[in-house]
């Protein structure tokens, strides 16, 4: 990055943050601070919902998923549109009619205080963990590539975010998200078209090559039960598990509920959700396709042995020189052979020589496998040096391409886009964590009669508190999974039982608070036990998306059983909040 890139990076981020703070200056009432001033239109809500979900990991790590595993990850989002329909039709009208500030306030009205606190507590726990991840994820990639100190990157990102979330509340988050998303889409589109322009093969050849390397397997319709249960992404797990994941995330996670509760009317909020339902899968497809195109690009262009700069430097300094030299020689030879064979493949396709094309492609694939084996050896050498935390190789692919092949100015804009995405989702999370802490815990227990100005002040205090917790947790984090997957796994483990509570609240009339509470506790314990068993015993392994289905089913089942044991008496009227 040169001076122009830094100027664009800092100017973009500070400009957007200042805009959010200026537009929402002087806000004093609690509802306005936590939910917005109730003037948001559908487009703003839709963008805000997309921006809250799409953290930096979406734009940094998802192309890496495409590069490594192809388009299959898009199935993760197949259940989303159906979840959005259910939320728009059922959840949203109820939330709006009851004028709740947090989704868990509704559980307090429908069941009792302990059930509300349980759901709010699970949200604070899992979102607190997730909040650390949204700072940590981009910081580790960007610090790895640029050589910035990791801890300094985490602290600076966290502080900027806390500053404008504290200053402006929910509306500042929404207003800045729109501009940030504009920067992100502009930068990603520019990167996409520049990559297309730099591809050495035509579009038909590019797709043929991607297909030959199994990168275009977007839909897995296999009906083999074992395969469907264990494979991470299939049409069935993506549609069913993804439906429950999206239902839980958009319908019960305060960071999302807060985004659409601020709509000017029910219609605007609903259309915002519909906008997301229609746009999300195509958006994820194009981001994954970017990764697939990167894969093809690096089959023709020289790729580094390891993508992360810090990993390369560490390898050069600490790995045994003889072993490293051999790995590098193997890798270079494999790459040269692969490029040579692929040029022969292109020439054979041009002259319609099918036999020669097949032979060249098979030789290129063999060379590719030798190159990947050399990369694996390099990773083993790196592991032997006991490195501090590094992001997975795939997470570094896109940013490495940006730095080596895109013009200055655009590099600054793209790095600004990654930070903007990190700030987007981080700010929404902090705002939601502060809302939940204030409305569900602090006000009922410590200040039921407090005025709005005082509550806003407390909410700002909680924003700072959760910002500090997230920064501290990010400083101590250690990840081995692909980042975007790690975020989804954490969500899948905790969302199910909370979603079960909401489903009980919406669709049953005679289950009381005590049965719902203990049903949710038992369901959460069972989900965690199943995940632990899967991690330790292969026979118990279940694709994580299925936990989004198992969790609510267990919660609903346990609660109904408990209520049946008590007898389906009239609805409980114990301690309501």
């Amino acid at each position: 990055m040169n001076a122009l890139d830094y100027l664009i990076l800092i100017g973009t981020l500070l400009g957007i943050a200042a805009y959010g703070m200026w537009r929402t200056r002087g806000r004093r009432d609690l509802r306005g601070y936590l939910s917005g001033d109730g003037t948001a239109g559908w487009f703003g809500i839709g963008l805000s919902v997309i921006a809250t979900q799409a953290s930096a990991t979406t734009f940094l790590s998802t192309p890496g998923q495409g590069y490594q595993g192809g388009l299959g990850f898009v199935q993760n989002y197949f259940g989303g549109p159906f979840a959005m329909i259910l939320i728009a039709a059922v959840f949203l009208p109820i939330f709006r009619r009851l004028k709740v500030l947090t989704a868990y306030e509704y559980l307090g009205q429908r069941f009792d205080r302990k059930t509300r606190l349980l759901a709010a507590g699970i949200f604070l726990t899992q979102r607190g963990l997730g909040a650390a991840l949204t700072i940590y994820a981009p910081a580790i990639v960007l610090s790895g590539v640029f050589g910035w100190p990791l801890n300094l990157t985490i602290v600076c990102t966290g502080l900027v975010c806390v500053a404008y979330t504290v200053a402006g509340g929910s509306d500042a988050v929404r207003l800045t998200q729109q501009w940030q998303l504009g920067v992100i889409f502009a930068a990603m589109a520019a990167a996409f078209f520049l990559l297309l322009a730099r591809l050495p093969a035509g579009l038909g050849d590019t797709f043929a090559l991607a297909g030959a390397f199994n990168k275009l397997q977007a839909v897995d319709l296999s009906t083999d039960a074992g395969h469907v249960l264990r494979e991470r992404y299939t049409f069935w797990s993506g549609t069913l598990g993804g439906f429950f994941l999206a239902l839980a995330y958009f319908g019960t996670d305060q960071s999302q509920v807060q985004r659409y509760l601020g709509g000017a009317s029910l219609r605007e909020s609903r259309l915002g959700l519909i906008f997301h339902a229609v746009c999300k899968i195509p958006m994820q497809f194009f981001i994954l396709l970017l990764g697939v195109l990167l894969f093809v690009f690096y089959q023709f262009e020289p790729a580094p042995l390891l993508f992360a700069r810090t990993s390369q430097e560490r390898l050069a300094q600490l790995a045994p020189p003889e072993k490293l030299k051999k790995v590098e020689a193997d890798f270079t030879a494999a790459q040269a052979a692969q490029t040579r064979e692929l040029q022969a493949w292109l020439a054979a396709r041009k002259s319609n020589d099918t036999t020669a094309a097949q032979a060249a492609l098979a030789a290129a694939q063999a060379a590719h496998d030798r190159g990947e084996a050399a990369r694996k050896d390099a990773t083993e050498l790196l592991k032997a040096t006991k490195p501090p935390t590094t992001a997975s190789e795939a997470d570094n692919v896109f940013i490495t391409f940006i730095l080596h092949y895109l013009p200055h100015g655009l590099i600054g804009l793209l790095v600004a886009a990654f930070f903007a995405a990190a700030l987007n989702s981080k700010a929404a999370e902090l705002s939601a964590l502060a809302s939940c802490s204030t409305v569900d815990f602090w006000r009922p227990f410590f200040a039921s009669g407090a005025n709005d100005a005082h509550s806003v002040l407390v909410s700002k205090g909680f924003t700072v508190f959760w910002g500090a917790v997230a920064i501290a947790a990010a400083l101590g984090a250690n990840l081995v999974e692909n980042i975007v997957q790690a975020a989804n796994i954490v969500g899948s483990l905790f969302y199910g039982p909370v979603l079960g509570l909401f489903l009980l609240a919406f669709f049953t009339k005679r289950v009381g608070g005590t049965a719902a509470f203990w049903g949710a506790v038992a369901a959460q314990a069972t989900v965690l036990a199943l995940y632990w068993a899967g991690e330790h015993y292969a026979a118990w392994k279940i694709g994580y998306l299925w936990f989004n289905l198992i969790g609510p089913m267990l919660c609903v089942g346990f609660s109904l059983l408990l209520q049946a044991a008590q007898g389906f008496a009239p609805r409980q009227t114990e301690e309501k909040t």
């Binding site: 388009l71 898009v74 197949f78 549109p81 159906f82 959005m84 329909i85 728009a88 039709a89 059922v90 009208p93 109820i94 709006r96 009619r97 009851l98 009205q109 429908r110 797709f207 043929a208 991607a210 297909g211 275009l216 397997q217 977007a218 839909v219 319709l221 049409f235 009317s265 029910l266 219609r267 609903r270 259309l271 519909i274 339902a277 229609v278 899968i281 195509p282 497809f285 609240a505 919406f506 009339k509 609805r571 309501k576």
Partner: protein, 47 residues
């Protein structure tokens, strides 16, 4: 405790082009079907 129901609030004038919200939801399902159909075509044509 108000009884939960999926009935919309009175601040919902509907969406032009669609007769009701059911039409909007049918539109979403149609978009999903077309998108997944295209992805399935891409999958099977690349094998």
């Amino acid at each position: 405790m108000p009884s939960p129901s999926p009935e919309p609030n009175d601040d919902d004038p509907g969406v032009p082009l669609f007769r009701s919200w059911c039409g909007v939801y049918a539109f979403v399902v149609a978009c999903f079907t077309v998108t997944v159909g295209l992805l399935a075509w891409l999958t099977f044509s690349s094998r």
